[in-house]
């Protein structure tokens, strides 16, 4: 029996769920963390660095929520500031320079909401990532491991392949936010969660993710082993894609449903 959408949201937010750093540790070797955006600061909500997978160099970027209350405070609950996105972009450009693929782990309720974030151009930082990722010359694989909160998640999600954990959610707005705007009642979040179609199955159905990852063994060594093998296989395939950038553009180009005639008939997917 599948879970209700809002139950999925709660699972995706669970504090015991593996976070970005757990994935890095479970899958990669020789990880060396690189800090700072070289413009303003280092953002603890985004962890990035170089590592190896199956012996091959990669750049890994993960939004990190932290496990304990203290960690979560320090990581701003995985809500990145503009400098986090700019650090991520710096590391991606570095990956491009040295010809290694980029793997992103996404887990955020959204980009950080604060005065400083606006002063330093949260919107501009996300917009720049969307543009630059679209034409990055090396393969990008993004995996939604928990919450995929709106533009703050998409800023690491313009990839050749996007995968999603079975109980991860990906949404344009939080169910609470949606309910409070539409029905002036954030308690109707479960209704909003169902209406927003934010589950992995929905995202798959709309062609927004390529693959849903089974969670039966989540967090166990075998889970990381299987995921690692999948990543290796996928990176192999992407490495031989001669039309990588064109295909990435088309991947996003075809997303959307609208009508091209006055009768309102659904024509495109």
């Amino acid at each position: 029996m599948s879970l209700q959408p809002y139950e999925r949201v709660k699972i995706a937010r669970g504090a015991k769920r593996p976070t970005g750093c757990d994935y890095i540790e479970g899958i990669f070797t020789d990880f060396f963390e690189l800090h700072g955006d070289r413009r303003f600061a280092d953002d603890a909500a985004i962890v990035g660095g170089v590592a190896r997978i199956d012996g091959n160099p990669v750049t890994v970027i993960a939004i990190e929520k932290g496990h304990t209350a203290k960690e979560r405070m320090q990581r701003a609950f995985g809500a990145p500031n503009p400098e986090g996105y700019r650090k991520a972009l710096r590391l991606m450009k570095q990956a491009e320079k040295f010809g290694r693929p980029v793997i992103c782990f996404i887990d955020t309720s959204g980009a950080f909401c604060g005065i400083g974030a606006e002063e330093r151009g949260q919107g501009q930082a996300i917009a720049e990532n969307l543009c630059e990722m679209m034409t990055l010359k090396v393969p990008i694989l993004s995996i939604l491991i928990g919450e995929g909160g709106s533009g703050g998640a998409l800023a690491l999600g313009v990839a050749d392949r996007v995968w999603m954990m079975q109980n991860a959610v990906y949404s344009v707005i939080s169910p609470e936010g949606c309910a409070s705007i539409l029905w002036k009642d954030s308690a109707k979040a479960d209704e909003a969660a169902a209406s927003l179609k934010l589950t992995a199955e929905d995202a798959y159905r709309f062609g927004i993710v390529e693959h849903i990852l089974n969670e039966a063994e989540i967090g166990q060594p075998i889970f990381y082993k299987k995921l690692k093998d999948k990543i290796i296989k996928e990176l192999d395939m992407l490495a031989s894609d001669e039309n990588l950038i064109e295909n990435r553009y088309n991947r996003f180009r075809r997303i959307g449903r609208y009508s091209c005639n006055p009768e309102g008939k659904d024509e495109t997917t």
Binding site: A111, I115, E118, I126, L130, M134, S171, L196, G256
Partner: protein, 287 residues
């Protein structure tokens, strides 16, 4: 910058040009609008003649078609992609009805109007978003129209001029509308990589997913005086951080001060400024 004076509240009645709130007998039949800044009553005909601005400098919001009318050379505008309209892909509660109501009330089919025109004699692609159509929110149809326009401009080696106004991604279309941010950004990037010029004019309000995509991706970014420009909503920030927001937070002047816009240009001068910038960038584009 005299035109910015309106952001300073008048200290007394004299400073604001006399007792404005006193009801004055007007010619019957001339409807008026009250300026939210100086409280003056402005007859609609005078408001339109002044490009929807008050003498105090306050810029009222403007319909997309009016915008294009203001900057396009006379009779040069050809609308494109007007048959692309929203559907209800998620079967979202109330969305279909809302769309129908808005289409009727706004007398537009979508929240953005696209096309080509000449401005000061320079041919360009142009789009203007409409604040009276679900606050210019971006669903799949808006994303598709903007993307098509950039692809057209790239193909024809044309610059793009765009007026943004938006509450962000349209939540009734869920994740599909979020993806329009990536889709439009991809088209902007290709246009840019072709060496072509893109000018955005940020108008009130430009927020959320539109700020975090094509609004902030212009080669030159102009803001209209007093416009709200930001990513997160001010009220949400206030509630989340429990801090009072600085004066003028997320206003055009704030955006300029923090380095995210090139200039603030009042509506009155926009056509001349845009025409001049288009002319300076003439001949752009790699063959």
């Amino acid at each position: 910058m005299a035109f910015l004076n309106f952001i300073h509240q008048p200290k007394n009645e004299l400073e604001q040009g006399g007792r404005a709130s006193a009801p004055v007998q007007q010619d019957l039949g001339e409807p008026e609008k009250t300026c939210p800044n100086c409280r003056k009553q402005i007859p609609l005909s005078r408001l339109w003649a002044a490009k929807n601005t008050c003498t105090c400098g306050y810029h009222f919001r403007m319909r997309a078609r009016q915008r294009i009318g203001l900057i396009a050379d006379s009779k040069s505008f050809n609308e494109m992609y007007e048959d692309i309209v929203s559907v209800d892909p998620l079967d979202f509660p109330g969305y279909r009805e809302k769309l129908e109501t808005v289409q009727h009330a706004a007398n537009e089919m979508e929240a953005v109007i696209c096309g080509n025109c000449t401005i000061g004699g320079t041919e360009c692609a142009v789009f203007a978003m409409d604040p009276y159509f679900m606050m210019g929110s971006m669903g799949c149809a808006v994303g598709e129209k903007i993307t098509l326009l950039f692809e057209y401009a790239t193909d024809k080696h044309l610059p793009v001029v765009g007026f943004t106004v938006s509450g962000g991604a349209r939540m009734q279309e869920g994740l599909l509308s979020l993806m329009q941010m990536a889709k439009t950004s991809g088209a902007v990037k290709r246009h840019s990589d072709a060496g072509l010029f893109y000018l955005t004019v940020l108008t009130d309000p430009t927020t959320g997913g539109v700020t975090a995509s094509f609004a902030m991706e212009g080669d030159i970014i102009i803001a209209e005086p007093g416009a709200t420009v930001g990513f997160a909503g001010a009220r949400v920030i206030e509630q989340t951080t429990k801090k009072s927001l600085p004066k003028g937070f997320q206003k055009s002047e704030f955006i300029l001060e923090h380095g995210f816009a090139d200039a603030i240009v009042p509506r009155e001068w926009q056509k001349d400024v845009i025409a001049s910038l288009l002319s300076i960038h003439k001949g752009g584009g790699k063959a």
